[in-house]
């Protein structure tokens, strides 16, 4: 176990370094001058040159990379060209809203998608299965931008059930503000989770051990909940891990529509303005998040399926 964790941590460092270096090379290859964008069209060439020198941008790529690596090694991710705010401060400020939105979306996907998948699997071929399939197809086909706009229009603007936008001030107010953006993110996931659960559960329900459990007189609820679903948890955990890792990097569309102050919206602005330090900082956080979550998913698999202990 310890060996597994150490090996994965080592790979995490490699993956994060690779992701960040690739992003650095791409951003420096773009023929744009973020400093000119920052100072505006009225800036003189002398002012632009002075500020470029201030940020080490008047040197070659290797020197710029060296400057940046040196700062990162000292825990300094630099400052945003746009706001001059420390990148670590921006990420710290935006991380908690991002985590809340990601967790809320995952919870909704599980709470809605898993039961839908179970119903579809246990009512296979009947109208419930077809209805779940139709709803799932619709949900998977609708772009998040469309879904979010419709949810905002109906539930916030027309009926006033939820706030139109913002982060809220905490407690129930925060939850109220979280519902619609989380639903926007969760819509595609609900459909996907339902299909995976349905498919895996149908396989499990045809297995010998399920036939044995039924023959022993166990109620169907216990057959599914205590036995069959245990073997569906593995693929489900993988899905959750992949989703969570991606969502922790920010959900641009949902954050944009609902003005949710997460990393996604921040990095969108950074990309449009070529705010390289912030882009690199968020890429690093996303890469670390995905690697850490994947490690946790691997550990979860060990708990879910004891047979994997020997393999690890």
């Amino acid at each position: 176990m310890i060996g597994l964790i150490m090996r994965r941590l080592g790979w995490t460092i490699v993956v994060v370094w690779f992701a960040v270096t690739a992003t650095f090379l791409v951003t420096t290859a773009i023929p744009a001058d973020p400093i000119k964008a920052l100072l505006g069209p009225h800036a003189t060439a002398q002012t632009i040159q002075r500020v470029r020198a201030h940020y080490c941008l008047d040197r070659g790529i290797a020197v710029q990379y060296g400057c940046w690596i040196d700062r990162v090694a000292h825990g300094d991710l630099g400052e945003s060209y746009r706001s001059k705010r420390a990148v670590t401060e921006i990420i710290a400020h935006r991380l908690w809203p991002t985590v809340q939105l990601a967790l809320a979306a995952i919870v909704l996907q599980l709470v809605l998608g898993v039961p839908l998948g179970i119903v579809a699997a246990t009512r296979r071929g009947r109208w419930q299965d077809h209805a779940a399939h139709a709803v799932g197809t619709l949900a998977q086909s609708a772009p998040p931008l469309f879904v979010g706009t419709v949810l905002l229009y109906m539930f916030a603007y027309r009926w006033g059930w939820f706030p139109i936008s913002g982060y809220g001030s905490g407690g129930w107010d925060r939850i109220e503000h979280l519902v619609l953006p989380a639903m926007t993110l969760a819509t595609v996931g609900v459909a996907y989770y339902a299909r995976v659960v349905r498919s895996e559960l149908i396989d499990q329900l045809g297995a010998d051990y399920v036939r044995t459990a039924r023959a022993k007189g166990l109620p169907e609820r216990a057959v599914i909940g205590r036995h069959a679903m245990r073997n569906v948890l593995g693929p489900l955990a993988t899905l959750v891990g992949l989703d969570l890792g991606v969502l922790l990097g920010g959900a641009v569309v949902a954050e944009f529509i609902f003005a949710w102050p997460g990393l996604g919206r921040e990095v969108l602005q950074a990309v449009l303005e070529l705010d390289t330090p912030l882009i690199l900082g968020v890429v690093m956080v996303s890469a670390i998040a995905i690697a850490v979550v994947n490690l946790l998913v691997d550990l979860a698999h060990l708990w879910i399926d004891p047979r994997l202990h020997d393999a690890s």
Partner: protein, 552 residues
């Protein structure tokens, strides 16, 4: 299906249909509220507005975008300011001022009783420090506006810490000496970066200065959840308690345009600006909203620039032909009538603008004739670059269609703003592209000089991105820049306009009109040509309980 199941199925369908009808049915979208009917300004309340991006910084020496100005102007007072809704300069921190006959020496007398938001008195030395800070700070975009001050270049180059031409003569007198006269200098003194600052506060704040404004205006910072919500509250030590009325101004950041208007309709915002096309068209066509719409022609200009040193744009006849080929009515329609057709870079209301000069008419025959004269009887192909803004792309598409009519076939490339900005200022960059300009201050020297004087040409990062060099225009601009007689100065700029009109380094297209709609209870508001959204002096005509009165 059994009868009972059939009835319940029908019942479910009826409910679903009713919900759908209720959801899709028409809604009364007129104002929810009405003015309470007060005849004099009422103190109190909170003014809430939204912006699509985030405020970058509250450091006045750095903050340089229109969004930052919305909050910098209420926070920071300057020696002079603009009158509400107009461009006339009025005293602010300075009670009065004199200008020497040669136009080079400005002596400001500060009024008594002015203070920072913690009550510490403001003195002339604080303004001197502020101006020197703008000169000395590497990434301040404002040093370029102070270069005319004696000794300023030495501070910029860090060969001097103090600027010889800025003298604090006692606590209440500030004397500034220019190397050459500049009639626009008072306009520069109205920009927020000239607000008084304290060296000890700047030093103590360090990199947190951007969050700790040392307020000198009618408002101070109450709280700032960056990227979400910025709250200003009344400055208790402001010298003029009658200037501001609301208790707080709240700026909600990062609100998309559509969302902004939905929040406005539901009463969650008190004003909405930069409306998406459908919302704008609704508001201007709905009679109930008419009294609450504010328009102002911004200090801006939009069109297409051509690198006049590159074929085929080096021929004036080609440039004029493209101006005749553009149908400005198309742009006006695409932008829903929020434009005024332009004949040059100076917007309506700008000093020195020749109002009698008509925009280029749409004349396809004349365009073709000019192209043929220039040796392009069958037109030509060209690349056109625009920025990735949906309105800019629409306008580029319309231009493409207009030019195709005269045989000029343009191929549009869309770039992100940062890439676009770098590309077009490069002499080797795209020769034909979107062009725009927004004023720092309302003086023709802030428009024409940076864009068309030959000294603004650089190989890269050139603000004169047409690379237009005309010695006659240069001489005229150099003379006008220092001319003290308004009549002569105005005539010079009108001659400059005519030269640029004839030489056409741009396809002149439009000036943008800012449109803002406010709730019926928002009173005393004017969309300002420079500050745009300035809520410093608004008051809320609400009921005695502080709540807006519901419209009957």
């Amino acid at each position: 299906m059994t009868p009972r199941r059939r009835r319940s199925a029908i019942g479910r369908d009826v409910v679903a249909l009713a919900v759908a009808v209720a959801a899709c049915g028409p809604v009364d979208r007129g104002p929810r509220y009405q003015p309470a009917g007060a005849t004099t300004p009422r103190d109190g309340g909170v003014l809430r507005f939204a912006i699509p991006t985030a405020v970058r910084t509250l450091d006045p020496t750095i903050g340089y975008d229109d969004v930052s100005f919305f909050v910098l102007h209420p926070l920071f007072d300057t020696l002079v300011d603009y009158a509400p809704g107009g461009l006339d300069l009025v005293p602010r921190l300075a009670e009065r001022w004199t200008i020497s006959p040669d136009g080079r020496t400005y002596a400001f007398e500060l009024r008594a009783g002015i203070a920072f938001s913690d009550g510490a008195p403001i003195t002339a030395a604080h303004i001197k420090y502020s101006l020197e800070r703008a000169l000395a700070t590497a990434d301040s975009p404002f040093s370029q506006f102070l270069v005319d001050i004696v000794g300023a270049p030495d501070v910029i180059d860090h060969t001097a810490a103090a600027c010889a031409g800025i003298v604090a003569d006692g606590d209440r007198r500030l004397v500034i000496t220019l190397a050459a006269s500049n009639p626009a200098f008072l306009n520069i003194m109205a920009m927020p970066f000239t607000t008084p600052q304290r060296a000890d506060r700047v030093a103590a704040a360090g990199d947190q200065l951007r969050r700790r404004p040392d307020a000198t205006g009618p408002f101070e910072l109450a709280s700032w959840d960056e990227g979400s919500r910025l709250v200003l509250r009344r400055n208790p030590h402001y010298y003029d308690p009658t200037r501001a009325h609301v208790d707080e101004i709240v700026a909600l950041e990062g609100i998309a345009r559509d969302t902004q208007f939905q929040m406005f309709e539901r009463g969650e915002l008190d004003t909405a600006e930069g409306l998406a096309a459908p919302d704008y068209l609704f508001v201007v066509s709905e009679p109930a909203w008419q009294p609450y719409i504010h328009h102002a022609v911004g200090m801006n200009a939009f069109g297409s620039r051509m690198n006049v040193q590159v074929k085929p744009f080096d021929d004036r006849r080609v440039r004029q032909a493209l101006n005749y080929a553009l149908d400005k009515r198309h742009t006006a329609r695409l932008l829903n009538g929020t434009t005024v057709a332009s004949h040059g870079v100076l917007p309506p209301g700008m000093f020195g603008r020749d109002a009698s000069l008509p925009p280029y008419p749409h004349d396809v025959a004349r365009a073709r004739g000019l192209l043929a004269e220039a040796g392009y009887p069958h037109g030509f192909d060209a690349e056109y670059v625009t920025s990735s803004d949906d309105e800019a792309e629409k306008v580029a598409g319309s231009l493409q269609s207009d030019l195709a009519e005269v045989g000029v076939r343009i191929h549009i490339t869309v770039m992100a703003w940062a890439t676009y900005g770098a590309a077009i200022g490069d002499r080797q960059g795209p020769a034909f592209s979107l062009a725009s300009w927004v004023a720092d201050y309302p003086d023709p020297s802030n428009f024409i000089d940076p864009r068309f004087h030959s000294r603004s040409i650089q190989a890269t990062g050139s603000t004169n991105d047409s690379f237009y060099a005309n010695p006659a225009l240069d001489a005229l601009l150099d003379q006008a820049r220092h001319e003290l007689d308004p009549g002569s100065r105005g005539a010079m700029y009108q001659r400059a306009e005519r030269i640029l009109y004839d030489d056409a380094p741009w396809i002149w297209d439009y000036h943008r009109v800012t449109t803002e709609v406010v709730q019926p209870y928002v009173r005393g508001y004017y969309t300002h040509p420079i500050w745009l959204r300035d809520y410093t002096s608004v008051w809320l005509d609400v009921g005695s309980d502080g709540a807006p009165v519901i419209r009957r």
